[in-house]
Amino acid sequence: MTLSSRHIQAYLLLLPAFVFLVGFTHYPAVATLIDSFMSTPRGSRPAQFVGIQNYQIMIEDPVFWKSVMNNLWFALATIPASMAISIFMALWVNNKIVGRQFLRMSYFLPTVLPMIAVANIWIFFYTPDYGLINQVLQLVGIKSQNFLGDPSLALMSVTIVAIWKEAGFFMIFYLAALQTLSPSYKEAAQIEGASPWYFFWRIQWPLLMPTTIFVLVNALINAFRMVDHIFVMTNGGPNNASSLLLFYLYEVGFKFWDSSYASVLTVVLLSILAIAGLMQFFLLDKKAHYR
């Protein structure tokens, strides 16, 4: 077989997958960037070049800023909390512990359930007066809270659901990493009489660093695309108190049908994801240091 026919064969093997990859990832990303400088076509009026006008609209849009701030808080809460919980989970089920099978199953369960379905159950937990959380609060003498209806509580309430959903998923990555660590570390630590706490911080934690970076990047991406439960629980309300960027993008694009403004919002989201991507690229390069 000649060299060039092997080349052609390779391209032919790649072609079908690349039609879809380019058609639904690269093309729309570039086209969105172009659309963000155009006006929304309405009826007989075609799209026109409007420069940075859409971006100016965005900067003056209070709902956009509200969604950005909400999303930043959402990320700042879900990322560290779900990661910390996932490390504990992984350490526990990696050791000898009573009911290990049950624990591992319980932690992982939220990962396989549809967010849209479990969010329905969480609504009940948050219901004023007879919801489960409020029943417990009232038992200890705290008055019933309207978790999803109170602007100061709504964001926190949907954040907790996200942490619950994600921690078990991240646990898997830590568990996989822990199981690849050589048992001799543990033996050496035991001979030296290290406490579990010392063993974790000085040995396991540094060795888990590549996993932590991988999970961190995933958590960051998820923080900007996990919006299913918003649709069920609050619809972004009350008064946009729990609106996240992707949710607002959906509203602009498919409720107000303003495609150029939605394109600007997409560009913002893409930039955030690009930062996450670069972070993974540069931080994971240092992985060799730990191996």
Partner: protein, 280 residues
Amino acid sequence: MSASTLNQPNNPLDNTGWLATLGAWVLAIVWVMPLLYAFWAAFHASEYATEFSLTAPLTLDNFATAWHAAPFPQYFLNTIFLVFMILGMQLVLCTLAAYAFARYSFAGSSLLFSLMLVQLMVMPEILIVKNYQTLSSLGFVDTLFGIGLPYFASAFAIFLLRQTFKSIPKELVEAAQMEGANTLQILWHVYIPLAKPTYLAFALVSISHHWNNFLWPLVVSNSVESRPLTVGLQVFSSGDQGIDWSIISAATLLTSAPLLVGFLIFQRQFVQSFMRAGIK
């Protein structure tokens, strides 16, 4: 690793203290609570939805009511069709692409590989506005095929399979070549059988992901014929059902039941699949 640790004397660092054990159990109970509650509400009449009493009579009425209150049988068929259509397309397209990346050297291979990896960061659901326009110009809005289309090529699958294919010894391939097998025969008879665990891992991840997917199907589907379960459940529970928790819980359990049952039966495989998929 278990074989090597079994023979060794007990290491205190392997054991968990009572405080940690307590913490682990409290966390686990909090974690399964929503599901436990859903079971409680779904199997009891609605007057017991907020009242917990051991003597409350069990009933299946909520399931029957939910099942007939919305076109759930149709939604089920839609989701099953959608999930397997996506998986089938992914397996074919991504196997071919992964094979090219693993065993061919060609001009621009690393550039194409990087371009492919972009999809790991930029999922189709981020680009809903443009992808919706693409879909409507192709005439696939409000069809199951349209919902599946953006997912047919999966960077994740290509990446996983390429890693697996690369680890297959060249000697096996050379032996097959000696016997006169052509490229596709080698792929079919050598690579694919040896990559079975990877295929299983990817299949479980893909099925559970697309069974649960919501935002993109919500945008694309507009009728009972094209609505998957997740969107159907959302339409159902935000409709006039209001706040009958028992019926909503029953519908919620129905929606998640196949995944839940599958998970409980194949728990080990599920966890291992996600692990395998996570180790890069």
